[in-house]
């Protein structure tokens, strides 16, 4: 098995997620059923999306393992490969290499309350996690989600998050930094502030945090103040990557590789590593 060889896949659907049209979700299906069988993953893992002629880009898996027959990847238009991807059409052939990296700590999370804190377009593997938990609802305690974007038009998976908001088995706190929409019924405020306002207890709770560096920086002290221990806070990190399997040398933080040992790290683990990320 060559770990660099992508599985061929077809773009089934492209969903424009945000009003600036910069973020799209790609629904992909494997060309060969045996590849789908081999691609066993858990929420928090990522894959290298391979665009022949352009290169590869590491993207978190946004669909849940409980959603069979396809994979979802939500891609922000940012660099050489993703810009090209944004010009591709439904039916085009690309590649998927993975699953890669370490997922959220699902064994440890069973029986615990779960707090999810997400910001902007980093909500992808958190969406996977929420769908996965709602499908396995009895395995988890209380599920609380704080998800924010700069403005309503930049929220991902709008249909789903507003549906979850109405459910009683998940506590959703949707927020935007600012809005001039007079009909906006949800929170207005930065994610760390909403966490501080809404989350009162860290008891028996594990927090999954994924967002832009500035959100993570200001959320950490809030979680610590509420009483979360560094062992119970899990962060998903980003780095420039190529190989995705710990060999090409660029995504290290100290002696750990974000691609192979991460991208999910507990805050306790990160505290032992040089702050170079």
């Amino acid at each position: 098995m060559n770990p660099y060889l992508p599985y061929p896949a077809r773009i089934e659907r492209i969903i424009v997620e945000t009003d600036d049209r910069n973020i799209r979700t790609y629904r992909l299906s494997f060309l060969y059923p045996e590849h789908e069988k081999k691609f066993q993953f858990l929420p928090g893992q990522f894959a290298e999306i391979s665009v022949p002629g352009r290169g590869e880009v590491p993207i978190g898996i946004a669909s849940s393992p409980t959603e069979k027959g396809y994979l979802l990847f939500t891609v922000n238009k940012a660099g050489y490969v993703t810009s090209y991807l944004h010009n591709m059409k439904e039916g085009d052939i690309i590649g998927i290499r993975g699953p890669l990296g370490r997922p959220y700590p699902w064994e440890r999370m069973e029986g615990r309350n779960i707090l999810i804190v997400g910001g902007g377009f980093a909500f992808t593997t958190l969406r996977s996690s929420i769908v996965y938990m709602l499908e396995n609802r009895r395995k988890f305690g209380k599920i609380t989600v704080v998800y924010g974007a700069r403005r309503p038009g930049l929220l991902l998976y709008k249909k789903e998050i507003f549906e979850w908001e109405k459910r009683s088995d998940i506590d959703m706190h949707i927020t935007v930094d600012a809005t001039d929409d007079p009909d906006w019924k949800y929170n207005v405020g930065l994610v760390p502030n909403i966490v501080e306002e809404k989350i009162k207890s860290a008891e028996n709770t594990i927090a999954l945090v994924c967002g832009p560096p500035v959100m993570i920086r200001f959320t950490r002290p809030v979680l610590e103040k509420i009483g979360f221990s560094p062992e119970d806070i899990f962060l998903s990190l980003e780095m420039r990557m190529k190989c995705g399997i710990g060999m090409c040398g660029r995504c290290n933080i100290g002696h750990k590789f974000v691609c192979k040992d991460g991208p999910v790290f507990s805050l306790a683990e990160l505290n032992e590593l040089p702050p170079e990320y």
């Binding site: 060559n2 770990p3 660099y4 060889l5 992508p6 061929p8 060309l31 391979s50 665009v51 022949p52 002629g53 352009r54 290169g55 590869e56 880009v57 940012a78 660099g79 050489y80 993703t82 085009d92 052939i93 690309i94 590649g95 560096p213 993570i216 920086r217 950490r220 980003e238 780095m239 420039r240 190529k242 190989c243 399997i245 710990g246 060999m247 090409c248 040398g249 660029r250 995504c251 290290n252 100290g254 002696h255 192979k260 505290n271 032992e272 590593l273 040089p274 702050p275 170079e276 990320y277």
Partner: protein, 355 residues
């Protein structure tokens, strides 16, 4: 152990090269490098060390990984296929013990419990390493201080000792015995062994530098990371990358797609942590954008991260190429000792917050 005259050795090597790819040191202009033995190639075993390390024999500077068609009418369009490669058995003859040791270090990266690099590991398994003990280490050499030595057998299948008129050859593994059987020669005599022993002692005495590696290994990673020396140490560096290019233990690579009309290749190329683009995110953010961070990364990787991860000493075989060829005279030995001797309060080294 066999003894073989140099002319006979060369004749046998040429015979062997009909069935194997044989790599030998060759003098080119003002330096040596490893080249495949062909009729028009003259090996030269009277060298200190090759300027370019032999790492490219297992890990080419540029290597085609996959190829694909971009022709919409092709039924296999956009599907990557493994590129054809030559995997014939090969023998590296005359590799210095430091460079053989380096392959053992690089193996930690390419042959892991979780993933195997298919091409490196395949080439490694098909390669026989025939060392040439180092009679005259240079002033930049320090193999003896990093777990190797000028006569070290680490990572070798056989080792040759240059006794002047001929080579004394000792087999170490089965692969080495096969090589020795092909070379032939006479049974080694006591005087040959005594001469080799004397050469070994003389060579080892030439490596005098005092390196405080154990002291450095004991220091906490975060404390070394936060050291005050990085700004001043990195000041002269022009981030040219020659150290990583020549280093036999530097393995970092880049993956790029290249398109030629209606077909394309996925290629991997050597890369270097000395270049800012190495870690540049698509967002523009760069965790190692400043020069001192990149210099720190190179030394931290070799001296702290690698030992921390693999518990097998530092990621350096002491070949001294980076010292010899650095245009601004940076010296890893000096940096090792500066870090080892640095006085810091190690108890407050724990960091809890980014920047």
């Amino acid at each position: 152990m066999r003894f073989v005259l140099k002319d006979d050795f060369l004749k046998k090597l040429r015979e062997i090269s009909k069935n194997y790819k044989v790599f030998v040191p060759v003098k080119k202009d003002y330096f040596h490098l490893f080249q495949e033995l062909k009729d028009d190639i003259l090996p030269d075993f009277s060298f200190f060390n090759t300027k370019l390390s032999p790492k490219s024999i297992l890990f080419p500077q540029s290597e085609r990984m996959f190829e694909y068609s971009l022709d919409k009418d092709d039924p296999d369009a956009y599907i990557l296929k493994e590129a054809k490669k030559d995997f014939s058995p090969q023998i590296i003859v005359g590799i210095r013990p430091c460079d053989a040791h380096a392959f053992q270090i690089v193996k930690q990266n390419f042959d892991t419990p979780e993933y195997k690099d298919p091409w490196w590991t395949k080439r490694y398994s098909l390669t026989t390493f025939i060392g040439l003990a180092c009679n005259s280490p240079r002033s930049s050499c320090f193999c003896l201080k990093v777990g190797g030595g000028p006569f070290s057998e680490k990572g070798l299948d056989a080792i040759m000792y240059d006794l002047g008129e001929g080579f004394l050859i000792k087999d170490i593994t089965d692969k080495g015995r096969d090589f020795l059987d092909k070379i032939g020669g006479d049974e080694a005599k006591k005087e040959h062994l005594e001469k080799a022993e004397k050469l070994k002692k003389e060579a080892e005495e030439k490596i005098k530098v005092d390196l405080k590696i154990e002291d450095l290994l004991k220091r906490p990673v975060l404390s070394v990371f936060e050291s005050d020396i990085w700004n001043s140490v990195s000041f002269p560096c022009i981030t040219c990358g020659i150290c990583t290019f020549l280093c036999p233990t530097c393995w970092c690579f880049d993956i790029q797609d290249e398109v030629y009309g209606k077909r394309g290749d996925r290629i991997r190329n050597w890369d270097s942590c000395m270049f800012p683009i190495f870690t540049l995110h698509a967002s523009g953010y760069n965790p190692r954008g400043e020069k001192f961070r990149r210099v720190r990364q190179r030394f931290m990787h070799k001296l702290k991260y690698y030992p921390e991860r693999y518990k097998k000493g530092i990621q350096c075989s002491g070949c001294g190429r980076c010292i010899m060829y650095c245009p601004t005279n940076m010296d890893i030995r000096r940096i090792i000792n500066m870090l080892a001797e640095e006085k810091r309060n190690e108890s407050i080294s724990s960091l809890s917050c980014k920047d």
